[in-house]
């Protein structure tokens, strides 16, 4: 078993952090896992991509051309990566700022207005955590409890942010269930 998740958006949306929290959750679950950032010239253009590969065997190629799932945080990312997702995968769409769909009929497209939900929660910065939670709840790439633990681990040095982010996880999970 191997699963690959492509995260993509622009700088400042917390794309790298989403991937790192998922990778942490995968490690907690005992999976082999690798997190690969894009650090090349495209990053200088303001985009932010990372890939998380997890599996029950040592991860071979860390370069993934056709991921199983996609988390698209802005429109250029959706347009760039939606065609690469393997049939049957989940495509998460940041519905707050992406007015279009993936154009795919062979995937499970999940649209969540994460910015509005984060604003309702009281902190717009939690939008990425809501997105991650919705994606994990739908795709089940890791257990939700592992994701909660990963959030606690990742924010251990800023413990006052943990309750907010755990709430954001709940908001995301409910959003995925309600669509």
């Amino acid at each position: 078993m191997q699963r690959e998740v492509q995260f993509a958006g622009f700088g400042g949306q917390g794309v790298m952090l989403m991937g790192q929290i998922l990778a942490q959750a995968a490690m907690i679950e005992g999976y082999e896992v690798v997190w690969i950032p894009s650090y090349g010239p495209e990053m200088r253009g303001g985009t932010a991509y990372c890939t998380v590969v997890l599996g029950d065997r040592p991860i071979g190629s860390p370069i993934i051309r056709n991921p199983q799932h996609l988390v698209a945080m802005n429109r250029p990312s959706l347009e760039k990566f939606a065609p690469t997702v393997r049939p049957g995968g989940v495509i998460f769409v940041n519905a707050s700022i992406i007015p279009v769909g993936s154009g795919r009929t062979d995937v499970d497209e999940l649209r969540v207005p994460i910015v509005e939900l984060a604003r309702d929660l009281g902190n717009v910065k939690a939008a990425n955590i809501i997105a991650l939670a919705a994606f994990v709840a739908r795709s089940r790439v890791v257990r939700f409890e592992a994701l909660e633990q990963a959030v606690r681990d990742k924010f251990a040095a800023k413990a006052k942010l943990i309750p907010l982010n755990l709430q954001a996880l709940e908001v995301g999970r409910n959003a995925a269930a309600g669509t």
Partner: protein, 359 residues
């Protein structure tokens, strides 16, 4: 201890601290600047020293100076930076000083690019600086292996009184994987009093130690080179490391690949085997000394039709593969450069093509 998720560059930095190294001098360059960032905070916590040199040339002689006192010291850089350090590396090898250089390779030549590459194979293995010297070159394929190699590099450097190089590509530095800092690795420093210029008072001896690289008398320089050669020959006997992947008597094609590229090959091999094509791989973990006999033994398996070197360089590793295979089988090259990492699909297509044409 529990596993932690770490970026390769940070894990390499922490591994050096765990190995007891307290001296790190460097000059920043993508894709390895996180090592300096990490150590600028971490080393002061443990009473160590981080200094940024004014250039890579300066850094290489800061390493020379610190190593000459018998202190553990290392630096990290990337391709163009290692070129600048190469003069110093030659001097350090000549002076027989233990230290560690880490090259997180990016695409070249010249300034090239910042994405992963393996184009510094010749520079690392055949000598980037002048004169007859060798580095002991370790090539990690994962963050965990980078950590272990980093910790072992210091005792190895001291065993041979020779610089050790960790040769990784940009991905090894940039990606995050779970790592465990093992405490069962022997990182005990070797005694340096017989040679280090650490002060006669401190050593409590009445004989001065002299470190030099100038030998104007030809017979003396020849003797010095013979001594160095004996050391490199001992590395060839005692330090060769490799891993066989899916090498069995049924294989028809043998791949040779190292670092991140070998992981892509592993995926390609798994999928080719699902198609019924028996392919195996020898992955060198030391590039010098090269696992020549292991490559030859695998190439000699009864069904092997050809050997394929897969590398992120334009035909460098393949020269050592040809030298190892000694004409027993035809040897081919496949690679990409400039930051494009060949995909499993591309490796599979090349493997199929070679097998088809060698039937």
């Amino acid at each position: 201890m529990a596993k932690v998720l770490m970026k390769g560059n940070e894990a390499i930095a922490e591994a050096a601290v765990r190995a007891g190294c307290r001296n790190y001098f460097a000059y920043p360059i993508t894709p390895q600047s996180e090592v300096a960032e990490y150590l600028s905070r971490r080393l002061p916590e443990v009473g160590g020293v981080f200094l940024q040199g004014e250039s890579e040339v300066a850094v290489s002689y800061m390493i020379f100076g610190a190593a000459a006192t018998g202190e553990r010291v290392f630096t990290t850089s990337s391709s163009p930076g290692i070129s600048l350090m190469s003069e110093g590396i030659s001097y350090i090898a000549a002076a027989e000083l233990p230290c560690v250089f880490v090259n997180i390779m990016r695409g070249g030549p010249g300034l090239g690019g910042i994405l992963p590459s393996q184009a510094d194979y010749f520079q690392a293995v055949k000598g980037g600086g002048h004169g007859d010297y060798r580095l002991l070159v370790l090539a990690p394929a994962s963050v965990q292996e980078a950590v272990e190699m980093m910790m072992e590099a210091f005792p190895l450097a001291e065993k041979y009184r020779n610089p050790v190089m960790i040769l990784g590509d940009g991905l090894i530095g940039q990606m995050m994987e779970p790592v465990e800092f093992r405490d069962d690795l022997n990182t005990e420093p070797a005694p340096a009093d017989d040679w280090a210029t650490s002060g006669m008072d401190r050593r409590g001896r009445d004989r001065r130690n002299l470190i030099r690289t100038l030998y104007l008398v030809p017979s003396e320089l020849n003797a010095h080179n013979l001594k160095l050669k004996a050391k490199y020959d001992r590395m060839r006997r005692e330090e060769v490391r490799w891993e066989n992947y899916a090498v069995d008597p049924s294989i028809r094609l043998l791949l040779v690949s190292y670092g991140t590229m070998s992981r892509v090959c592993r995926t390609a091999i798994d999928r080719l085997r699902e198609e019924g094509l028996a392919v195996g791989m020898v992955r060198p973990k030391t590039l010098f000394p090269f696992p020549r006999e292991a490559v030859l033994a695998a190439a000699r398996q009864g069904e092997v039709r050809a050997v394929l070197s897969v590398e992120m360089s334009m035909g460098q590793l393949v020269e050592d593969v040809e030298w190892s295979v000694r004409g027993v089988r035809p040897v081919f090259w496949f690679g990409k450069c400039g930051g494009e990492v060949p995909t499993p699909e591309e490796v599979m297509a090349e493997a199929r093509r070679i097998l088809r044409e060698s039937e």
